[in-house]
Amino acid sequence: MEIPDVKQSWSNPINEVKIGATKEEGGTRSHTITVGGAKTLPFLHFEGGRSHRPVVAMEVWDVAPSDWPEELRRHFSDVWDEPGKWAKKCVEEFGADLVCLRLQGCDPDGENKSADEAAWAVKRVLEATDVPLIIWGCGNKEKDNEIFPACSQAAAGERCLLGSITEDNYKTLVALCHADKHKVIAESPVDINIAKQVNILAIDAGLSEKDIVIYPTTGALGYGIEYVYSIMERGRIAGLGGDKMWAMPILCDIGKEVWKVKEAVVLEEEVPEWGDHTQRGPLWEFITAVVYLQAGADILIMRHPKAVKETKRYIDSLCG
């Protein structure tokens, strides 16, 4: 029996965003990574038009985390006294596609490190690894605006992905990205219209559409993932359908959310009915990544080596 054709054709491919710069391009990376380019909803090969593979960045801090559970600690405590060593382990031992340096040590509520210290951490990671770099601030707006000029300068020409800008705090970072040729992470609070608004602001301030990655906020599996999932699906459908302000690759900040939920961290001794925590934690992070990949994620920021390895295998199995 003949079957009706259900192929959908979309008018507008998702933008390609290139991260990292090689020597020839004015940086020091051994290769660049391009994300985006989707022409269909995720992994629908029968509609043709493969996009670039989604990539996994591993998280590195400029300070030893005090609140990471043992299941994470045991993989990083030998290197987390120095961001270069930490980054090198993520790339060489755990196969991270990119490094995501989170400048948590600059948080005024924590160690309150200076802009110079932050820039030093950026340099250390650049020296120790040759993969493209994501640099994320500490989350305190004023402090991030203070440290980013030095960090951006330290990585000038490396075409890093810097984050994040928001609706009410974008001018400093956008100017830096423009000046030092970086890309930017545009953050919005699980809201399809605010996501567009941040992009419009960044473009009005001088960036191009191809300089922006959307970060629609991330929720862990079991903790609001369905809200973000549907915002991402709606946004991606809008983008493919021609909405230029949603035609950006999407980033999900997974490790940070997963490793504070109880299902990922509580020990088996405390809740025997949830089973082995040494497996449950990495699986929780991996499955959170899987669900976001199905909603269109292009960049995943993750923590656990096992979760990273399995996510990359899963991407392989779908990209063939």
């Binding site: 609001g224 399995e310 199995s317």
Partner: protein
């Protein structure tokens, strides 16, 4: 797809006899189309017309029920490709696969284990839905005995995985009353399988390796009088299965292509314990009505059932938690009191950060009609008066020794008025939940003792 008035008119006798109490057949047809009167109010309408109308008004994807009335699983009747368009109606049934090589003792153990594979999340009980028994090497009698043992040990509905109708028949004689899903009819065995499914009134899974062949088979099986079908498009690699499940959903819902307008099922093929769960999670996100897995570790099933719970949450209904004073950790009357909304995402984020802080804390949940902190403020769903009233109702004055309340940083503007309304000191907490642990550890100080 419902018929229009004109399409219904064509099925009527067109005599304008008025026996339906409407002046003309056309007027009557319009009323039927608007679902205001039933078609059989026309005493002259033919059986054929009735059948056609019933067919046309059927949902694009059939609802199929597995199991009997006491314990059934309903699957199918989905209406959309994306949950934000409406919602997904019937959560994917998770089936655990057992094999007939199990000894009686092993089977007992397995089934009692499956029976307690239950979790409570966000106040909702979640559990697996089906037990699948795969036939490999037993005789028909042995297989039937095993199925009987399973039905005696569990109320979960069954899937019989066996392509030999003579073996399925023996099993159905014993447990047919439980209405198991019979897996599967294929090109070779479908006549016998269909006749068994009809005789025992059981749902039947249909297997083919292409969608074209699948559509041919469902039509032939339907003509044998079996309507409760479940489709297995035969793909087993994650990417292929994702593509075929997507096509099936589009065909059913968007094209209203009746030969494939049935719920679907998929089997995992990955042997790795992580990859298998990823595969199953993919099929839950993307359109499988049943997923059959081998994995059964608690640490594997909990995240999988959580994916299903999340994806099948109705996006139109704000998720709320009960309005009350929650106790997180071993609280004492000296513990801090945090005020938040009854939007479950807000509540559970705050709860999880409070847990992280290891500071025992009360969380006073205010009824904001399921809106988060800022939305509730913008929509006038909460106010200092309402918070004060809630704190009174929750007997915070009586239960707490100190006199300090912590409010979300995003509604700092409530502070002065809340002090007036409730008479206690009001501390402005952080704007982001992630800062709650450092706030509780470093900034929270109980005010003066009463």
């Amino acid at each position: 797809m419902a018929l229009t008035g004109l399409q219904i008119y064509k099925l009527l006798p067109k005599t304008n006899c008025g026996d339906c109490n409407f002046p003309t057949c056309m007027a009557f047809a319009m009323q039927v189309a608007a679902k205001k009167v039933p078609l059989d109010q026309c005493p002259h309408v033919s059986e054929e017309a009735k059948a056609q109308l019933a067919e046309a008004s059927a949902p694009p994807m059939r609802l199929v029920c597995i199991g009997n009335d006491e314990n059934k699983l309903e699957i199918g009747q989905e209406t959309v490709l994306f949950r934000h368009k409406e919602k997904f109606y019937h959560p994917t049934g998770v089936a655990i696969l057992l094999e007939d090589s199990l000894t009686d003792e092993e089977l007992d153990k397995e089934v009692s284990y499956l029976n307690q594979l239950k979790f409570t999340r966000v106040g909702e009980k979640i559990s697996i839905d089906l037990v699948a028994l795969k036939h490999k090497s037993t005789t028909a009698e042995e297989y039937a005995q095993l199925t009987e043992k399973i039905t005696k040990k569990t109320s979960l509905p069954l899937i019989l995985i066996c392509q030999d109708p003579s073996i399925v028949e023996v099993a159905l004689k014993v447990i047919g009353g439980r209405r198991p899903l019979v897996y599967s009819a294929n090109r070779e065995n479908f006549k016998k399988m269909a006749s068994l499914a009809r005789e025992y009134n059981c749902p039947l899974a249909v297997y083919a390796e292409s969608l074209e062949e699948l559509a041919d088979l469902t039509q032939e099986i339907k003509s044998l009088g079996v309507n409760d079908l479940v489709l297995d498009p035969g793909t087993r690699k994650t990417g292929d299965a994702l593509n075929s499940l997507t096509k099936l959903r589009r065909l059913a819902v968007e094209k209203v292509f009746r030969p494939l307008g049935y719920p679907t099922m998929m089997f995992t093929s990955e042997e790795d314990p992580f990859q298998e769960i990823a595969q199953a999670a993919t099929y839950i996100c993307k359109y499988a009505s049943i997923v059959v897995i081998r994995a059964k570790g608690k640490w594997q099933i909990l995240p999988l059932l959580t994916v299903r719970q999340n994806i099948y949450t109705d996006p139109q209904v704000p998720n709320t938690v009960e309005v009350k004073l929650y106790e997180i950790g071993p609280v004492t009357p000296d513990s801090p009191v945090i005020v938040t909304t009854n939007f479950s995402l807000t509540y559970f984020t705050v709860e999880s950060e409070v847990e992280n802080s290891k500071v025992p804390t009360y969380i006073s949940v205010v009824d904001t009609e399921g809106l988060g902190v800022l939305n509730a403020y913008a929509g006038d769903k909460w106010s200092p008066e309402k918070i004060a009233k809630t704190l009174e109702q929750q007997k915070v004055r009586e239960r707490i020794n100190h006199n300090t309340i912590i409010i979300p940083g995003l509604v700092a503007v409530f502070r002065a008025e809340l002090i007036d309304e409730f008479g206690w000191n009001v501390l402005v907490g952080p704007e982001e939940a992630a800062r709650i642990p450092s706030f509780l550890k470093n900034e929270w100080k109980s005010g003066d003792k009463k």
